[in-house]
Amino acid sequence: MSAVARYFHSRAVTLGLCTRNNTRHFSTSLPLCELRHMSRVNVVDNSDLGKNAKTSGKPARIVHVYNKQGVARIGDKVLLALEKQKVKGIIVGCKQKQKHMIPKFDSNNVVLIDEEDTPMGSRINVPIPSVLRKKEELAKILAISSRFV
């Protein structure tokens, strides 16, 4: 995170207002942890592309969100840039605050898919939210998941 982003990121700015004279106060929002353009995500299946992205030190980044809001949530399709390629993926876990009974994960997880919506890996070792079972288009991804939460 850049120095500017770090400065805006901390909630402590609102907690501890400057006691010096002639200071300008500005409000900062709480960290929303939204997945947008250029957000880094963690590839969670056992595909080769995903493993290379983790080890190379250049994590996968969201380059386009396939919805009208521009904010990716659990179950949304996204276009990722990793290993100098453009690959599609499905968001399978969010750090963002979730509604009641929907799990919130410690990392933003994504599963890579190809043009026919078939997952590129053969197994997902991380728990998948049970809400995704409602979506029929994710059936192939749910078939390779090991555990539901």
Partner: protein, 289 residues
């Protein structure tokens, strides 16, 4: 005479002389005032409920901000909460306790799914009461927030009843995974009858920064074992620290519901429980004969 909307709504906001209407929040604010001549003393206090109830049923207490209060809504919610408690046993638990929650899930063949975790937060008043469970599964930290009075909750089981040094454990997100890992097949531990709830005095060591929050600035959290931080980061602490807050009586007053009101609320709970116990006793007798 034509209807003049401007005049009509002006009179609604600012009533004419002789037709003043006191706003409900002003009444609420002055309800407990000693200057209120209509206040009836001590009849209520004579039949006070056990003082532990405010810790066992914290969601029965209303929002401390009088601007957000609605007594009719609160009473109706309390009635619904007690009716729900007839159907489902909602146990006593605290932040730091380990719970197992079974939820109705239409996508599972058994139509039920279970989640086990440590309670890191408890929030909400009335029917909005909720709690958050945290666990580390397959190397992934997972947190789920549950509404206490949601009808799809089928079972809430306390696997370990204990308290921690803090009222919220969000710092577990920045702590090693071992402190949040709870096995799903954990057996419930029961405390002996009449025992007080034990306080786990564990101090959690944090991972090296960066963290999700600036934990060094949270002087109210006692359960953190802070690591060595650079001097530049610690410099700002002297400006932020508020040592006078623990002596602020008015802040304490504003944050809490008065004891008299608490007794009134929990009297309803006690009455409800005695009624339920009586009914269950009668049913037991019927079954025996």
């Amino acid at each position: 005479m034509l209807f003049n909307p401007r005049a009509f709504y002006r009179s609604y906001d600012r009533p004419q002389k002789g037709h003043e209407k006191v706003p409900s929040w002003t009444i609420e604010k002055h309800r407990d005032s000693p200057l209120n001549a209509t206040r009836v003393e001590s009849e209520r206090l004579r039949h006070a409920a056990p003082t532990e109830f405010r810790y066992i049923f914290p969601e029965f207490l209303p929002h401390p901000d009088w601007k957000k209060r609605d007594r009719v809504a609160e009473k109706l919610q309390r009635r619904d909460m007690l009716r729900r408690r007839l159907v489902l046993d909602i146990p006593e638990f605290y932040v730091g306790s380990i719970l197992g929650v079974t939820v109705a899930d239409q996508h599972v063949p058994s139509k039920q799914s279970r989640f086990v975790g440590i309670c890191i937060h408890r929030d909400g008043h009335g029917l909005r009461a909720n709690f958050t469970l945290r666990n580390h599964i397959d190397g992934q930290g997972v947190e789920i927030k549950y509404d206490l009075y949601n009808p799809t909750l089928q079972n809430i089981e306390v696997l370990k009843l204990e308290k921690r040094l803090d009222e919220e454990l969000f710092y577990l997100r920045d702590a090693p995974a071992t402190h949040s890992t709870i096995t799903f097949d954990r057996k419930p531990e029961t405390l002996p009858l009449g025992a007080t709830v034990p306080v786990n005095m564990k101090k959690i060591p944090l991972n090296p920064p960066p963290w999700t929050q600036r934990w060094e600035k949270r002087e109210d959290l006692k359960g953190i074992d802070l690591p060595e931080l650079p001097e530049k980061r610690m410099r700002k602490l002297s400006q932020i620290v508020k040592p006078w807050e623990k002596y602020d009586l008015m802040k304490e007053y504003r944050k809490n519901i008065s004891e008299e009101e608490q007794n009134e609320i929990f009297k309803e709970v006690v009455q409800h429980h005695t009624r339920v116990e009586k009914k269950r006793h009668q049913e037991r007798l019927k079954r025996m004969t």
